[in-house]
């Protein structure tokens, strides 16, 4: 019973860890705009906010609105390279997965940032560490069952 409970806790921590890594990757990749679609979204506000290291980790935001289905507003955190090629009033179109963004009638090439590719590689290693810790945790539980003090008692 106790072993099963411990396995459950190990599984909870492992599951949360995988969720965090996945969401982290999604957040860094979506800033390139490649994974998402945009249907006639008009840029209404552009803003750059400074973080701890101005110039290298600035937060580039755009606020867009679209009235294709319903009047909706969206605030997006995007890569600085894309931010520099946009202006207020631009109309943005793209399909999910495409590596170019149509700004008004011009096509702007999109690519994943160094942050996104670096995060993918770093989290591949981090995921392996997570798996090793999971296996170690499971081995501990197994050794506790077989010939454990409880059984002997």
């Amino acid at each position: 019973m106790g072993v099963q409970l411990t396995m459950r806790y190990v599984a909870i921590l492992f599951g949360v860890g995988i969720l965090l890594l996945t969401y982290d990757l999604w957040c860094t990749h979506v800033r390139s705009l490649i994974p998402i679609s945009m249907a006639a979204e008009k840029v209404v506000v552009m803003e750059t906010r400074s973080e701890k290291h101005p110039g290298s980790d600035d937060v580039c935001l755009i606020r867009t609105h679209s009235n294709s289905f319903a009047l909706t507003y969206a605030t997006r955190h995007i890569d600085s390279a894309i931010h520099q090629s946009l202006a207020v009033g631009d109309i943005l179109n793209k399909n999910a997965g495409e590596t170019f963004l149509t700004v008004n009638d011009e096509k702007v090439a999109l690519k994943y940032s160094a942050d996104a590719t670096g995060m993918l590689r770093a989290h591949a290693v981090n995921g392996l560490v997570l798996i090793v810790l999971l296996v170690l945790g499971m081995m501990n539980r197994t050794s506790h069952v077989v010939g454990s003090v409880e059984n002997k008692a």
Partner: protein
């Protein structure tokens, strides 16, 4: 033997070895897990030290909480599952980190990437404690050793995040 099993409480493997060896194994596992993950951030994201800073701070902060709780409350003697306690502390640590990120350390926006990295540090710290559990109840010198590692990672985290 029954008395002994009460202390192990489904957390550590049967203690056929001296507790000192087990403590050393715990410390080595903590240090290795922390260093390998920090190195992966530094190697692949060397231009963004704030990411590894958040990770190290989450890792160190959670280790700190774990050491303090296991030193102060001797949860195993209170018949609380130690694994349950580690999981709870890790999740509480994630919530505390989220709260700090949303308030004190919110400089531009609440950055979900920073939150994920520091929370991942908390998860790795918790899993390390279950994968290589220290002898329980955690003795003072064991807690001090874990506290030393936690403070080391906290200092590194703040250095990387703000340097």
């Amino acid at each position: 033997m029954v008395e002994f099993s009460r202390y192990t409480n489904h957390f550590s493997r049967p203690q056929f070895r001296p507790s000192g060896n087990i403590l050393i194994r715990t410390l080595i596992t903590i240090a290795l897990a922390g260093l390998v993950t920090c190195y992966s951030y530094l190697h692949f994201l060397g231009n963004r030290l704030d990411y590894v800073g958040h990770y190290a701070a989450g890792f160190g902060g959670t280790l700190f909480l774990l050491a303090v709780v296991f030193l102060r409350f001797h949860a195993v003697q209170k018949k609380v599952s130690a694994s349950c306690l580690v999981t709870a502390i890790s999740l509480i640590s994630i919530c505390m980190g989220g709260l700090l990120e949303a308030t004190v350390f919110r400089l531009a926006i609440f950055d979900p990437v920073d939150f994920c990295n520091q929370s991942f540090g908390a998860i790795v710290a918790g899993l390390t404690f279950i994968a290589a559990p220290p002898p329980l109840p955690l003795a003072r010198q064991g807690a001090l050793a874990v506290l030393f590692l936690s403070v080391l990672f906290l200092i590194l985290g703040f250095y990387w995040a703000f340097s």
